[in-house]
Symmetry: C2
Subunit: 403 residues, 2 copies
């Protein structure tokens, strides 16, 4: 039979996380795998009131087609939010509402990427971005993430050797590693951007989920040309609305809007209107305070347990925000071997190679703490630690077999 | 400055309809331009009750991430609906929920189309499809729509001369023309499909909006291999949910799901859950009866006015369903000239060339009747008729100038 699929489908991986989502929804599974926010904090009652209010006040328009760019008052809210919280002036004309930040990534790729052009990523990088970008058949180059952010020298030499069309990064609480770029590195990246004509894509979905340390200014605040900033209400309010946004200067935005039209005409009016009513009537800061406290407690518990239980050869990050930490086993110890043990005991996580474009990272793993209560973290880390010890011991034994 | 946009952006038109949507939302405009359902029939009160019910019963899951394929009970509803209403057996595994049928088109293109491959369209064809497909830089070939559907001989010869990857059509109440394929033409197309290995894409958003004549079986009911059928709740319930669906056999669906993952992870849980609660608690047939009666009355009024007012050289269709009719002026009389007159008098429609990929159709126009009350139809058609007479007279005068 003829292969009817487009060539681009050959190199696109299915999302590991999405594939195990069904499995992890079962109650007795301890899942460190997903990127699910803690549903205990979804403002269900307030959203119910918001839905009733907006349907009663303006029901026919809430259910009708509307503008591709998104509901104007919601874009005004975002514009105001960007100024208030991030000290960034983003006029309404420079805001497009999307179906979560995943669609933002897909639309930006569609608008800017030709086949074979260079895309630079952090190493490791967000799996959803790797997947969306892969459709456009780029040449990937990656730059190491150090404890305080991207390796500046490697970024410069990479961009010199491989002039890029797009540089994608998550400077706040990188997914998967939890690493945050320092102020100095942000300024350094801004300086580098001024020497290269390309799109810099600053993905910032976790900004509000900082529970330690000071907020840092975005790279866009230091250098604005061809910089696209994206974010989402998924972690701030709830992911079920699928509402994120793109900020891009007007000449870029004009084409992004056309990509959005062709992709699905417009963001859903119903979801936008209910969310906007909620944002208007309630103060999300009250809601965020609870999220931050809880995530910090859960993260602290996971770090404490990992310090206590994990073999000392295993390193891990201690993030100031976001939803993930990143553990690194000794070289050549495989996290897929660990997973095959823990999955039998109903503990799952995402193997590190998923976040690499070159098959590396197989000795690493991403661990989510936002969606597990403390007792599950305690239990899960113990099971994880035992499995790691087993895999590392087997590996050491192999190493010491006489030749 | 370097052009940072992808090459594919060069040939993609902005949507005329989307661009004038802002203009047409003003109350004193008579818009025959949009494809808006009549909001008077949106079941606002029932949807409000459904939102309250589902949020009270299962709020945290309604606002959480969920499966890429869509909410399982909603897919079960669709599977049952396809059997009940269209006599088609479509198992749940062969259904993917999308953001309206526009996203269905975009995902199918992404999954199957390589640059330069042949796409066959009806002539005229749906603008949103032309736009979405254009991103994938195909070679377009078009086949004439006759009064009873696609020209079978031209379809056969086109497919012989240009082996196609994809054939896209709207057999029920084609947008823009309102034309419906006869039973015989459906069977003929099925026969032709069995001789060609390609994707046949049957887009069917208006099925339930038939107000005259008998329902006809889908092409998929005669030939199933590599046939993808799409539809939407936008015209059946309300477009503000942005919920449509794709039916495709399992081996095709596996890749379509990956395209959906990368595009935006999943359809919005909140919109899906509220819509599903509404579909479960209420009988949409009651709601559809009202839509059909009203659209028929509006269509009849438009046809009556056109017979009465339009110059006799202008031909137009009289559809059995859907939301549009299609008027054809004498060759070389331009609908854009007509539009430039009517727009001053606040009457708008979509010029026909928008629905062609070869710049033809400029003497045609698409007229929407679903979103205008009868008094606006009466007034609008008169203004339209006067403008047509003016343009045709000017054109005739030019023709008779002595050389």
């Amino acid at each position: 039979m003829k292969n009817l699929f487009a060539d681009r489908m050959e190199n696109v991986p299915a999302s590991f996380i999405r594939e195990i989502l069904k499995f992890t929804q079962s109650k007795d599974v301890i899942s460190f795998a997903g990127g699910l926010p803690n549903p205990a904090f979804f403002p269900v009652e307030d959203i119910k009131k918001s839905a009733v209010k907006v349907l009663e006040a303006d029901g026919t328009r809430v259910l009708q087609y509307a503008e591709t760019e998104g509901h104007l008052p919601l874009r005004e809210y975002i514009s105001d939010y960007m100024l208030r919280r991030k000290n960034l002036k983003v006029p309404v004309e420079e805001i497009q509402i999307t179906n979560g930040s995943q669609q933002a990534i897909a639309l930006i790729c569609k608008t800017f990427l030709n086949k074979g052009e260079t895309v630079v990523l952090e190493r490791p990088s967000y799996l959803g971005a790797i997947q969306a970008i892969s459709f456009y058949e780029p040449e990937f180059h990656t730059v190491e993430l150090e404890d305080d952010g991207i390796n500046i020298e490697e970024l410069e030499s990479t961009l010199e050797a491989h002039p890029a069309k797009l540089f994608y990064s998550v400077p706040n609480f990188n997914n998967p590693s939890g690493i945050t770029w320092s102020l100095e590195k942000r300024q350094e990246v801004a300086r580098i951007l001024s020497n290269h004509e390309m799109i810099y894509f600053e993905d910032d979905p976790y900004y509000e989920v900082r529970y330690e340390g000071e907020h840092l200014p975005s790279v866009k605040s230091f250098y604005d040309k061809n910089v696209i900033l994206t974010s989402s209400f998924s972690k701030m309010v709830a992911p079920g609305f699928r509402i994120g946004w793109i900020c891009a200067q007007k000449d870029l935005m004009e084409k992004i809007v056309i990509s959005k039209q062709a992709a699905d005409l417009q963001p859903g009016t119903f979801a936008q209107r209910v969310l906007h009513q909620y944002l208007t009537d309630y103060n999300i800061e009250n809601h965020l305070v609870k999220i931050r406290e809880t995530y910090k407690r859960q993260k602290d518990k996971m770090v404490e347990m990992m310090k206590q239980e994990l073999p000392e050869e295993v390193k891990f990050t201690n993030p100031q925000g976001g939803m993930f930490l990143w553990a690194t086993m000794p070289e050549n110890a495989s996290c897929r071997d660990v997973l095959s043990i823990t999955i039998e005991k109903k503990v799952v996580f995402v193997p590190g190679d998923t976040f690499y474009v070159d098959g590396k990272g197989f000795n690493c793993m991403r661990l989510n703490f936002s969606n597990s209560p403390e007792e599950k973290i305690v239990k899960g880390v113990k099971i994880l630690a035992d499995a790691m010890k087993e895999v590392i011991a087997k590996h050491n034994k192999l190493k010491t077999v006489p030749v």
